[in-house]
Amino acid sequence: MKPVGNIEKLVKRFHFAVSAKMDERIWSDVLEAQEKLVKKKSAKYEQNIWKRISENPVKLIAAVAAIIFVGFFLIHHGPVEQSQSPQIVEEIITPGEMLTPISLRNAYLIGGMEAVDEQSRKAFQMLNRKPVKISIRKLQIEINGM
């Protein structure tokens, strides 16, 4: 099985709902922890960090492993901003599923009829089905190249 498949299997076992909100929370925690860590370090230590790592083979291996892990994680989960983009949403739920009775009903419960409109509009945007405006002339050009 491909590594991506293995990771998907592993994530499914965690039993938590993947959502934009969850991503945001995880990332904010990670960044906060990182920020605290950075503050504790002295300027001198920061300047010499790569020197210290390169001197110790164990540290070097650990650093390389950490970089690979972070890189792998970013490739498969994307940066924070992307977690809220429609492309990622499309992977979670298809535009068609956004137009099902239950999905629209859930939207109503959250934001009333405006949320139903918004969700339908987004689904159609993603489907890109209905042109805003099209003339007979344009259609003729599209169909016959006239």
């Binding site: 039993h15 959502s19 983009s85 949403v89 739920i93 009903r105 934001g111 339908s120 805003v132």
Partner: protein, 416 residues
Amino acid sequence: MRVKIDKRLIAVIFVFLTIPHKLLLAQPPQNAALLYYQAFMVYESPNEEMRKKLYDLVRHQIEPDRQITRYVTKQQSVIDLLTIAADLPNCDWGFDYSTGVAFYVAHLQSFRELSRIVIADAKILAEQNDYKTALKRCLTLHKMSHHIGDDLLITLLVASSSVDLANECIKYILSEMPSDVTTLHWLKAELSRIDSKPFALKNSLGNEYKLVVADMTPDRIDKMISLCLEPVITVLGASPDKLPTKRQVDKKRIEEKQNWEQIVRERVRKADEDFLERNRIHLKKYFIDKFPLTLELPYDQAYTKLIELDQEIKNDSYKDPDATITAVVKPPLAIVLSKTVRTNAFINAVRAAIEIYVINAKTGSLPDELPDSLPGDLFSSQPFKYEKTTEGFILRCRGKDPVKKKIHKYVFKVSK
């Protein structure tokens, strides 16, 4: 030469000549949905700016401008198509309930947009003092709403909202138009004909049950559960602060929901035919027996009982695996019931107001008391509270709307 005339040919010619002329003319199809689907395909979808303008116009926040008038004028042939469709008695949208909950109701988006276009046209006509045609547009939307119907809870909610839109516009036109007894009598008769069958939840509930049962098979249950539990915030792809949220959700509730969803997913992952059968029995107990019986009660009792049933199912689902599916798919009946009662109360308020306008048109002044036997407030099952104002009159509900947490009032003006 002798011509032999076939008796059968004579019979055919005789029948043809005696058929009423009307029957030989082209007739619209018997199913209104076919015309609606055509309208949905050919109307010009508004761009972002126009969409916003239409929103504001139907909420009476702006007046029709040249740009709106131009856009709506271009949709006249579609409005004509909708008018013909709305007048047809039958409307079958062709839903296939056997496909389960994952079937599409994509037509609702177009229906909502066209509802706003119809009301925008009504407002333009009212501005041109063509009040009767403007009212006809509102009635078209009333009829369309009955067609979009009570097949499902979401269609019922959309229908309810569209009727509210039409009623708001009727209220506006009645406040603007000069006294005209003939038009008022005509409007009263039309409204009582169209709204003779009020919106009801029972039909939707039965169909929602069919959809869920169709999905209660080992190969489909997982998909249905995922769809039902999918958070809307994720669906909309927006952060919560950007979402038009009417209900604030606290952190504790989110955690509680996540824990509960974990239990549900675990049970569904292991679901076998035995588990599904026991869940089907539980589902039937509520959808076919308890919910419909509760809906027979007067509104305030029904609302309280539905909230209790909702909590009862939720609590059961923690300890009883048989209640799992019912807990996931249970519809927000108390909220939908309140919405339909709100809409039906508004219909009653408009009908009661027409009677008051008729008295005003006949006598030249508003009555001091509310006449007897007018349609009443459905939140309290009592007559509306009537109050004369300097500009017209107000009809107030006596019962509180527990969802909106307010007492509704309907303000009508009288044109001088």
